[in-house]
Protein backbone atom coordinates (compact mmCIF):
# COMPACT_ATOMS: atom_id res chain seq x y z
CA UNK A 1 0.00 0.00 0.00
CA UNK A 2 1.29 3.41 -0.90
CA UNK A 3 0.26 4.94 2.35
CA UNK A 4 2.25 7.81 3.73
CA UNK A 5 4.30 6.80 6.74
CA UNK A 6 2.54 8.10 9.81
CA UNK A 7 4.09 8.28 13.30
CA UNK A 8 2.74 5.63 15.69
CA UNK A 9 1.21 8.20 17.98
CA UNK A 10 0.21 10.91 15.56
CA UNK A 11 -2.45 13.37 16.62
CA UNK A 12 -5.03 11.36 14.74
CA UNK A 13 -4.01 8.13 16.43
CA UNK A 14 -4.02 9.73 19.85
CA UNK A 15 -7.57 10.85 19.20
CA UNK A 16 -8.51 7.20 18.62
CA UNK A 17 -7.41 6.52 22.18
CA UNK A 18 -8.84 9.57 23.92
CA UNK A 19 -12.08 10.20 22.04
CA UNK A 20 -13.93 7.20 23.44
CA UNK A 21 -13.00 8.27 26.97
CA UNK A 22 -15.05 11.44 26.81
CA UNK A 23 -16.39 12.94 23.55
CA UNK A 24 -17.39 9.63 22.08
CA UNK A 25 -17.78 7.39 25.11
CA UNK A 26 -19.48 4.10 24.17
CA UNK A 27 -21.73 4.10 27.23
CA UNK A 28 -22.45 7.70 28.11
CA UNK A 29 -22.54 9.15 24.58
CA UNK A 30 -23.36 6.27 22.25
CA UNK A 31 -25.37 4.50 24.99
CA UNK A 32 -24.13 1.04 24.01
CA UNK A 33 -23.40 -1.90 26.33
CA UNK A 34 -25.91 -0.72 28.93
CA UNK A 35 -27.11 -4.20 29.92
CA UNK A 36 -23.81 -5.27 31.44
CA UNK A 37 -23.40 -1.83 33.02
CA UNK A 38 -26.60 -2.50 34.95
CA UNK A 39 -25.93 -6.06 35.90
CA UNK A 40 -22.40 -6.27 37.20
CA UNK A 41 -21.81 -2.89 38.83
CA UNK A 42 -23.00 -3.81 42.33
CA UNK A 43 -19.37 -4.25 43.40
CA UNK A 44 -16.11 -2.88 42.09
CA UNK A 45 -14.28 -6.18 41.71
CA UNK A 46 -16.58 -7.91 39.21
CA UNK A 47 -16.97 -4.61 37.37
CA UNK A 48 -13.22 -4.34 37.01
CA UNK A 49 -12.87 -7.95 35.84
CA UNK A 50 -15.72 -7.50 33.37
CA UNK A 51 -13.99 -4.35 32.07
CA UNK A 52 -10.73 -6.21 31.58
CA UNK A 53 -12.56 -9.05 29.81
CA UNK A 54 -14.36 -6.65 27.47
CA UNK A 55 -11.14 -4.69 26.91
CA UNK A 56 -9.38 -7.91 25.90
CA UNK A 57 -12.19 -9.04 23.62
CA UNK A 58 -12.64 -5.69 21.90
CA UNK A 59 -8.88 -5.24 21.30
CA UNK A 60 -8.29 -8.80 20.11
CA UNK A 61 -11.33 -8.94 17.85
CA UNK A 62 -10.55 -5.50 16.42
CA UNK A 63 -6.99 -6.53 15.54
CA UNK A 64 -7.98 -9.93 14.14
CA UNK A 65 -10.79 -8.56 11.99
CA UNK A 66 -8.56 -5.73 10.82
CA UNK A 67 -5.81 -8.19 9.81
CA UNK A 68 -8.13 -10.29 7.68
CA UNK A 69 -10.41 -7.44 6.59
CA UNK A 70 -9.36 -7.77 2.95
CA UNK A 71 -10.05 -11.52 2.95
CA UNK A 72 -13.48 -11.54 4.55
CA UNK A 73 -16.22 -12.11 1.97
CA UNK A 74 -18.64 -9.20 2.24
CA UNK A 75 -21.74 -11.34 2.30
CA UNK A 76 -20.79 -13.27 5.44
CA UNK A 77 -18.81 -10.58 7.24
CA UNK A 78 -21.26 -10.27 10.17
CA UNK A 79 -21.13 -14.04 10.74
CA UNK A 80 -17.32 -13.99 10.58
CA UNK A 81 -17.21 -11.15 13.11
CA UNK A 82 -19.61 -12.96 15.39
CA UNK A 83 -17.54 -16.13 15.16
CA UNK A 84 -14.37 -14.30 16.12
CA UNK A 85 -16.02 -12.48 19.02
CA UNK A 86 -17.72 -15.65 20.26
CA UNK A 87 -14.49 -17.67 20.24
CA UNK A 88 -12.62 -14.95 22.09
CA UNK A 89 -15.36 -14.84 24.70
CA UNK A 90 -15.20 -18.61 25.15
CA UNK A 91 -11.45 -18.27 25.61
CA UNK A 92 -11.94 -15.63 28.31
CA UNK A 93 -14.58 -17.78 30.01
CA UNK A 94 -12.34 -20.85 30.01
CA UNK A 95 -9.39 -18.90 31.38
CA UNK A 96 -11.48 -17.32 34.14
CA UNK A 97 -12.85 -20.73 35.12
CA UNK A 98 -9.31 -22.06 35.44
CA UNK A 99 -7.53 -19.11 37.05
CA UNK A 100 -10.23 -16.92 38.66
CA UNK A 101 -12.97 -19.34 39.64
CA UNK A 102 -14.77 -17.08 42.15
CA UNK A 103 -14.92 -14.19 39.73
CA UNK A 104 -16.12 -16.49 36.98
CA UNK A 105 -18.94 -17.71 39.22
CA UNK A 106 -19.91 -14.15 40.02
CA UNK A 107 -19.90 -13.02 36.40
CA UNK A 108 -21.52 -16.29 35.30
CA UNK A 109 -23.73 -15.56 32.32
CA UNK A 110 -22.42 -12.06 31.77
CA UNK A 111 -19.13 -13.31 30.37
CA UNK A 112 -21.13 -15.09 27.68
CA UNK A 113 -23.09 -11.90 27.14
CA UNK A 114 -19.94 -10.05 26.05
CA UNK A 115 -20.76 -11.62 22.68
CA UNK A 116 -23.89 -9.55 22.51
CA UNK A 117 -22.21 -6.42 23.86
CA UNK A 118 -22.99 -3.93 21.14
CA UNK A 119 -19.71 -2.09 21.69
CA UNK A 120 -17.68 -5.03 20.37
CA UNK A 121 -19.70 -5.63 17.21
CA UNK A 122 -20.13 -1.91 16.72
CA UNK A 123 -16.36 -1.27 16.65
CA UNK A 124 -15.79 -4.18 14.24
CA UNK A 125 -18.38 -2.92 11.77
CA UNK A 126 -17.61 0.76 12.14
CA UNK A 127 -13.85 0.72 12.47
CA UNK A 128 -11.85 -2.50 12.15
CA UNK A 129 -13.28 -3.42 8.74
CA UNK A 130 -11.97 -0.18 7.26
CA UNK A 131 -8.70 0.44 9.12
CA UNK A 132 -5.31 -1.16 9.67
CA UNK A 133 -4.35 -3.32 12.67
CA UNK A 134 -2.48 -0.60 14.61
CA UNK A 135 -5.33 1.90 14.35
CA UNK A 136 -7.82 -0.83 15.19
CA UNK A 137 -5.74 -1.77 18.21
CA UNK A 138 -5.79 1.83 19.46
CA UNK A 139 -9.51 2.06 18.76
CA UNK A 140 -10.05 -1.13 20.76
CA UNK A 141 -7.99 0.15 23.69
CA UNK A 142 -9.85 3.46 23.62
CA UNK A 143 -13.33 2.00 23.50
CA UNK A 144 -12.57 -0.74 26.00
CA UNK A 145 -11.16 1.86 28.37
CA UNK A 146 -14.13 4.17 27.82
CA UNK A 147 -16.43 1.31 28.75
CA UNK A 148 -14.28 0.39 31.75
CA UNK A 149 -14.21 4.01 32.96
CA UNK A 150 -18.00 4.27 33.21
CA UNK A 151 -18.39 0.75 34.61
CA UNK A 152 -15.89 1.36 37.40
CA UNK A 153 -17.38 4.79 38.13
CA UNK A 154 -20.89 3.34 38.47
CA UNK A 155 -19.63 0.41 40.56
CA UNK A 156 -17.72 2.81 42.82
CA UNK A 157 -20.88 4.73 43.77
CA UNK A 158 -23.06 1.63 44.00
CA UNK A 159 -20.72 -0.32 46.25
CA UNK A 160 -19.88 2.71 48.42
CA UNK A 161 -23.46 3.87 48.96
CA UNK A 162 -25.10 0.44 48.74
CA UNK A 163 -22.89 -1.58 51.04
CA UNK A 164 -20.43 0.95 52.48
CA UNK A 165 -17.48 -0.89 50.99
CA UNK A 166 -14.92 -0.56 48.20
CA UNK A 167 -13.39 -3.74 46.79
CA UNK A 168 -14.99 -5.48 49.78
CA UNK A 169 -13.22 -3.34 52.40
CA UNK A 170 -15.40 -1.51 54.89
CA UNK A 171 -14.74 2.14 54.13
CA UNK A 172 -17.47 3.78 56.17
CA UNK A 173 -16.92 1.78 59.33
CA UNK A 174 -18.35 -1.48 60.56
CA UNK A 175 -22.08 -2.02 60.86
CA UNK A 176 -22.95 -4.31 63.76
CA UNK A 177 -26.37 -5.45 64.97
CA UNK A 178 -26.59 -2.73 67.59
CA UNK A 179 -25.70 0.94 67.28
CA UNK A 180 -23.31 0.71 70.21
CA UNK A 181 -21.15 -1.97 68.55
CA UNK A 182 -20.94 -0.18 65.21
CA UNK A 183 -18.02 1.99 64.28
CA UNK A 184 -17.42 4.92 61.92
CA UNK A 185 -20.45 6.49 60.24
CA UNK A 186 -22.69 3.64 61.33
CA UNK A 187 -22.17 4.60 64.99
CA UNK A 188 -23.90 7.90 64.16
CA UNK A 189 -26.90 6.05 62.79
CA UNK A 190 -25.93 6.04 59.09
CA UNK A 191 -27.67 3.37 57.02
CA UNK A 192 -26.65 1.85 53.69
CA UNK A 193 -28.98 2.62 50.81
CA UNK A 194 -30.23 -0.78 49.73
CA UNK A 195 -31.70 0.79 46.61
CA UNK A 196 -28.20 1.26 45.23
CA UNK A 197 -27.84 -2.52 44.97
CA UNK A 198 -30.80 -2.85 42.62
CA UNK A 199 -30.46 -2.56 38.84
CA UNK A 200 -32.63 0.57 38.39
CA UNK A 201 -30.14 2.59 40.42
CA UNK A 202 -27.41 1.66 37.95
CA UNK A 203 -29.50 3.18 35.19
CA UNK A 204 -30.05 6.32 37.27
CA UNK A 205 -26.33 6.51 38.09
CA UNK A 206 -25.47 6.21 34.40
CA UNK A 207 -28.05 8.92 33.73
CA UNK A 208 -26.44 11.22 36.29
CA UNK A 209 -23.00 10.60 34.77
CA UNK A 210 -24.37 11.49 31.32
CA UNK A 211 -25.92 14.65 32.78
CA UNK A 212 -22.70 15.78 34.46
CA UNK A 213 -20.67 14.96 31.33
CA UNK A 214 -22.99 16.91 29.03
CA UNK A 215 -23.03 19.93 31.25
CA UNK A 216 -19.21 19.97 31.35
CA UNK A 217 -18.43 19.05 27.74
CA UNK A 218 -19.52 21.85 25.34
CA UNK A 219 -19.16 19.62 22.29
CA UNK A 220 -21.95 17.35 23.44
CA UNK A 221 -24.55 20.04 23.93
CA UNK A 222 -27.22 19.73 21.26
CA UNK A 223 -29.22 22.70 20.09
Amino acid sequence: MAEEKEPLFSKQNRALLTDPLDDNNPISVQVLGICSALAITVQLKPALVMSIAVLFVVIASNVIVSLIRNLIPGRIRIIVQLLIVASLVILVDQILKAYAYDVSKELSVFVGLIITNCIVMGRLEAFALANGPWKSFLDGVGNGAGYALILVLVAFFRELLGSGKLFGFEILGHKAKTLADSTGLYAMGYENNGFMLLSPMALITVGLIIWVQRSKNRKLIEN
Binding site: L71, I72, P73, G74, R75, I76, I79, V80, L83, I84, S87, I90, L91, Q94, I95, K97, A98, Y99, Y101
Partner: protein, 238 residues
Amino acid sequence: MDKNSNAYTFIFAIIMVTVIAGVLAFTATSLKPLQDKNVKAEKMQNILGTIGVTGVSRDDAEVEYNKYIKQVLALKADGTVDTKVNAFTLNLKKEIKKSTTEQRFPLYIAEKDGKTFYVVPLYGAGLWDAIWGYIALDGDKNTIKGANFGHKGETPGLGAEITTDWFQAQFAGKTLLNVASAGFTTDNFVSVKTVKGGAKTGDAHGVDAISGGTITSDGVSNMIQERLARYLPYFKNN
Protein backbone atom coordinates in the same frame (compact mmCIF):
# COMPACT_ATOMS: atom_id res chain seq x y z
CA MET B 1 -10.16 -15.62 -6.99
CA ASP B 2 -13.33 -13.57 -7.02
CA LYS B 3 -14.08 -12.58 -3.45
CA ASN B 4 -17.78 -12.47 -4.09
CA SER B 5 -18.06 -15.94 -5.61
CA ASN B 6 -19.83 -18.69 -3.75
CA ALA B 7 -16.75 -20.94 -3.86
CA TYR B 8 -14.59 -18.31 -2.15
CA THR B 9 -17.21 -17.73 0.53
CA PHE B 10 -17.45 -21.46 1.25
CA ILE B 11 -13.70 -22.01 1.35
CA PHE B 12 -13.24 -19.01 3.63
CA ALA B 13 -15.96 -20.24 5.98
CA ILE B 14 -14.53 -23.77 6.14
CA ILE B 15 -10.97 -22.64 6.87
CA MET B 16 -12.15 -20.12 9.43
CA VAL B 17 -14.30 -22.62 11.33
CA THR B 18 -11.58 -25.28 11.33
CA VAL B 19 -8.94 -22.92 12.69
CA ILE B 20 -11.22 -21.59 15.42
CA ALA B 21 -12.44 -25.05 16.40
CA GLY B 22 -8.82 -26.17 16.73
CA VAL B 23 -7.84 -23.24 18.95
CA LEU B 24 -10.87 -23.66 21.22
CA ALA B 25 -10.50 -27.42 21.51
CA PHE B 26 -6.84 -27.00 22.44
CA THR B 27 -7.62 -24.40 25.13
CA ALA B 28 -10.50 -26.37 26.60
CA THR B 29 -8.45 -29.55 26.85
CA SER B 30 -5.38 -27.92 28.33
CA LEU B 31 -7.32 -25.94 30.95
CA LYS B 32 -9.61 -28.82 31.96
CA PRO B 33 -7.42 -30.17 34.82
CA LEU B 34 -7.25 -26.72 36.46
CA GLN B 35 -10.99 -26.20 36.11
CA ASP B 36 -11.78 -29.62 37.54
CA LYS B 37 -9.49 -28.89 40.46
CA ASN B 38 -11.45 -25.73 41.23
CA VAL B 39 -14.78 -27.57 41.11
CA LYS B 40 -13.44 -30.32 43.36
CA ALA B 41 -12.03 -27.82 45.87
CA GLU B 42 -15.33 -25.98 45.97
CA LYS B 43 -17.16 -29.22 46.70
CA MET B 44 -14.76 -29.86 49.59
CA GLN B 45 -15.31 -26.31 50.89
CA ASN B 46 -19.07 -26.86 50.84
CA ILE B 47 -18.83 -30.15 52.69
CA LEU B 48 -16.52 -28.64 55.32
CA GLY B 49 -18.86 -25.65 55.67
CA THR B 50 -21.73 -27.83 56.89
CA ILE B 51 -19.72 -29.18 59.83
CA GLY B 52 -18.68 -25.68 60.83
CA VAL B 53 -15.24 -25.53 59.21
CA THR B 54 -15.61 -22.24 57.38
CA GLY B 55 -13.23 -19.72 55.89
CA VAL B 56 -11.09 -22.39 54.25
CA SER B 57 -9.43 -21.05 51.10
CA ARG B 58 -9.68 -23.12 47.97
CA ASP B 59 -5.97 -23.89 48.01
CA ASP B 60 -6.21 -25.33 51.52
CA ALA B 61 -9.48 -27.15 50.88
CA GLU B 62 -7.91 -30.51 50.09
CA VAL B 63 -5.64 -30.50 53.17
CA GLU B 64 -8.46 -29.46 55.48
CA TYR B 65 -10.82 -31.94 53.85
CA ASN B 66 -8.45 -34.82 54.48
CA LYS B 67 -8.04 -33.66 58.06
CA TYR B 68 -11.76 -33.75 58.91
CA ILE B 69 -13.40 -36.19 56.52
CA LYS B 70 -12.52 -39.68 57.67
CA GLN B 71 -14.57 -41.80 55.32
CA VAL B 72 -16.67 -41.55 52.19
CA LEU B 73 -19.13 -44.39 51.65
CA ALA B 74 -21.19 -45.31 48.64
CA LEU B 75 -24.44 -46.71 50.03
CA LYS B 76 -26.90 -49.06 48.38
CA ALA B 77 -30.66 -48.82 48.83
CA ASP B 78 -30.63 -51.48 51.57
CA GLY B 79 -28.11 -49.54 53.62
CA THR B 80 -25.06 -51.68 52.86
CA VAL B 81 -21.83 -50.21 51.55
CA ASP B 82 -20.65 -50.68 47.99
CA THR B 83 -16.87 -50.77 48.22
CA LYS B 84 -16.28 -50.94 44.48
CA VAL B 85 -17.36 -47.37 43.80
CA ASN B 86 -15.37 -44.20 44.43
CA ALA B 87 -17.99 -42.34 46.46
CA PHE B 88 -16.41 -38.88 46.15
CA THR B 89 -16.75 -38.80 42.39
CA LEU B 90 -20.35 -40.09 42.34
CA ASN B 91 -22.54 -37.77 40.32
CA LEU B 92 -25.79 -37.44 42.21
CA LYS B 93 -27.58 -35.98 39.22
CA LYS B 94 -26.90 -39.16 37.25
CA GLU B 95 -27.49 -41.52 40.18
CA ILE B 96 -30.98 -40.16 40.83
CA LYS B 97 -32.06 -41.15 37.33
CA LYS B 98 -31.14 -44.80 37.92
CA SER B 99 -33.51 -47.38 39.44
CA THR B 100 -33.52 -47.56 43.24
CA THR B 101 -31.53 -50.79 43.39
CA GLU B 102 -28.79 -49.46 41.12
CA GLN B 103 -28.45 -46.10 42.83
CA ARG B 104 -25.43 -45.43 44.99
CA PHE B 105 -25.59 -42.46 47.34
CA PRO B 106 -22.52 -40.96 48.95
CA LEU B 107 -22.19 -40.41 52.68
CA TYR B 108 -19.32 -38.38 54.12
CA ILE B 109 -18.29 -39.23 57.66
CA ALA B 110 -16.44 -36.41 59.36
CA GLU B 111 -14.73 -36.06 62.69
CA LYS B 112 -14.28 -32.72 64.38
CA ASP B 113 -13.22 -32.09 67.98
CA GLY B 114 -13.74 -35.79 68.77
CA LYS B 115 -17.31 -35.78 67.51
CA THR B 116 -18.64 -37.64 64.48
CA PHE B 117 -20.75 -35.95 61.82
CA TYR B 118 -22.57 -37.40 58.83
CA VAL B 119 -22.72 -35.24 55.70
CA VAL B 120 -25.36 -36.07 53.10
CA PRO B 121 -25.26 -34.52 49.64
CA LEU B 122 -28.59 -33.29 48.26
CA TYR B 123 -29.91 -32.83 44.76
CA GLY B 124 -33.39 -31.82 43.65
CA ALA B 125 -35.51 -29.43 41.65
CA GLY B 126 -36.26 -25.78 42.38
CA LEU B 127 -38.55 -23.55 40.37
CA TRP B 128 -36.49 -23.11 37.20
CA ASP B 129 -33.70 -25.63 37.40
CA ALA B 130 -31.68 -27.88 39.65
CA ILE B 131 -30.93 -27.11 43.29
CA TRP B 132 -28.41 -28.95 45.42
CA GLY B 133 -26.63 -28.80 48.74
CA TYR B 134 -25.09 -30.61 51.67
CA ILE B 135 -26.61 -31.29 55.06
CA ALA B 136 -24.58 -32.38 58.07
CA LEU B 137 -26.02 -34.43 60.95
CA ASP B 138 -24.67 -34.83 64.47
CA GLY B 139 -23.49 -38.18 65.77
CA ASP B 140 -27.08 -39.06 66.72
CA LYS B 141 -27.94 -38.81 62.99
CA ASN B 142 -31.03 -36.87 64.04
CA THR B 143 -29.93 -33.32 64.85
CA ILE B 144 -28.81 -31.12 61.97
CA LYS B 145 -25.38 -29.57 62.39
CA GLY B 146 -25.47 -27.34 59.34
CA ALA B 147 -26.62 -27.09 55.74
CA ASN B 148 -25.74 -25.24 52.60
CA PHE B 149 -27.49 -24.95 49.29
CA GLY B 150 -26.70 -24.02 45.74
CA HIS B 151 -28.81 -23.50 42.66
CA LYS B 152 -28.46 -23.19 38.94
CA GLY B 153 -31.04 -20.60 37.99
CA GLU B 154 -33.45 -19.60 40.77
CA THR B 155 -34.84 -16.06 40.74
CA PRO B 156 -32.35 -13.57 42.20
CA GLY B 157 -33.71 -11.95 45.37
CA LEU B 158 -36.42 -14.60 45.76
CA GLY B 159 -35.66 -18.29 45.29
CA ALA B 160 -31.94 -17.62 45.00
CA GLU B 161 -31.99 -16.54 48.66
CA ILE B 162 -31.57 -20.22 49.62
CA THR B 163 -27.82 -19.63 49.34
CA THR B 164 -27.85 -16.87 51.97
CA ASP B 165 -26.50 -17.35 55.49
CA TRP B 166 -29.74 -16.50 57.28
CA PHE B 167 -31.65 -19.20 55.43
CA GLN B 168 -29.00 -21.87 55.86
CA ALA B 169 -28.34 -21.04 59.52
CA GLN B 170 -31.95 -21.86 60.41
CA PHE B 171 -31.35 -25.55 59.79
CA ALA B 172 -28.81 -25.99 62.59
CA GLY B 173 -30.34 -27.69 65.64
CA LYS B 174 -33.48 -28.90 63.87
CA THR B 175 -34.26 -32.61 64.17
CA LEU B 176 -35.37 -35.19 61.63
CA LEU B 177 -37.15 -37.74 63.79
CA ASN B 178 -40.54 -37.27 65.41
CA VAL B 179 -39.53 -39.14 68.57
CA ALA B 180 -35.76 -39.38 68.86
CA SER B 181 -35.82 -42.70 70.70
CA ALA B 182 -38.23 -44.40 68.29
CA GLY B 183 -35.48 -45.00 65.74
CA PHE B 184 -35.05 -44.60 62.02
CA THR B 185 -38.33 -45.90 60.63
CA THR B 186 -40.19 -44.33 57.74
CA ASP B 187 -43.12 -43.43 60.03
CA ASN B 188 -40.93 -41.73 62.57
CA PHE B 189 -38.93 -39.78 59.97
CA VAL B 190 -40.50 -36.33 59.52
CA SER B 191 -37.55 -34.49 57.93
CA VAL B 192 -37.26 -30.67 58.02
CA LYS B 193 -39.72 -28.50 56.15
CA THR B 194 -39.74 -24.91 55.07
CA VAL B 195 -42.89 -23.27 56.43
CA LYS B 196 -44.66 -20.58 54.42
CA GLY B 197 -45.37 -17.58 56.64
CA GLY B 198 -42.64 -18.58 59.08
CA ALA B 199 -42.08 -21.55 61.36
CA LYS B 200 -43.55 -21.38 64.87
CA THR B 201 -41.09 -20.75 67.70
CA GLY B 202 -39.91 -24.07 69.03
CA ASP B 203 -40.84 -26.02 65.91
CA ALA B 204 -38.14 -28.69 65.81
CA HIS B 205 -38.85 -29.69 62.20
CA GLY B 206 -39.63 -26.36 60.51
CA VAL B 207 -37.68 -23.39 59.19
CA ASP B 208 -38.92 -20.12 57.67
CA ALA B 209 -39.60 -20.36 53.95
CA ILE B 210 -38.56 -17.50 51.69
CA SER B 211 -41.20 -14.88 50.95
CA GLY B 212 -41.87 -14.90 47.23
CA GLY B 213 -39.78 -18.04 46.85
CA THR B 214 -42.38 -20.62 47.81
CA ILE B 215 -41.73 -23.10 45.01
CA THR B 216 -37.98 -23.01 45.58
CA SER B 217 -38.53 -23.37 49.34
CA ASP B 218 -40.81 -26.37 48.74
CA GLY B 219 -38.12 -27.75 46.46
CA VAL B 220 -35.66 -27.57 49.36
CA SER B 221 -38.12 -29.40 51.65
CA ASN B 222 -38.76 -32.12 49.08
CA MET B 223 -35.07 -32.52 48.32
CA ILE B 224 -34.14 -32.99 51.99
CA GLN B 225 -37.05 -35.36 52.62
CA GLU B 226 -36.42 -37.41 49.50
CA ARG B 227 -32.64 -37.71 49.85
CA LEU B 228 -32.44 -38.31 53.61
CA ALA B 229 -35.17 -40.97 53.52
CA ARG B 230 -32.79 -43.14 51.51
CA TYR B 231 -30.20 -43.13 54.28
CA LEU B 232 -32.61 -44.50 56.92
CA PRO B 233 -31.62 -48.16 56.44
CA TYR B 234 -27.96 -47.28 56.93
CA PHE B 235 -28.67 -45.05 59.93
CA LYS B 236 -30.77 -47.79 61.52
CA ASN B 237 -28.02 -50.40 61.25
CA ASN B 238 -25.03 -48.28 62.20
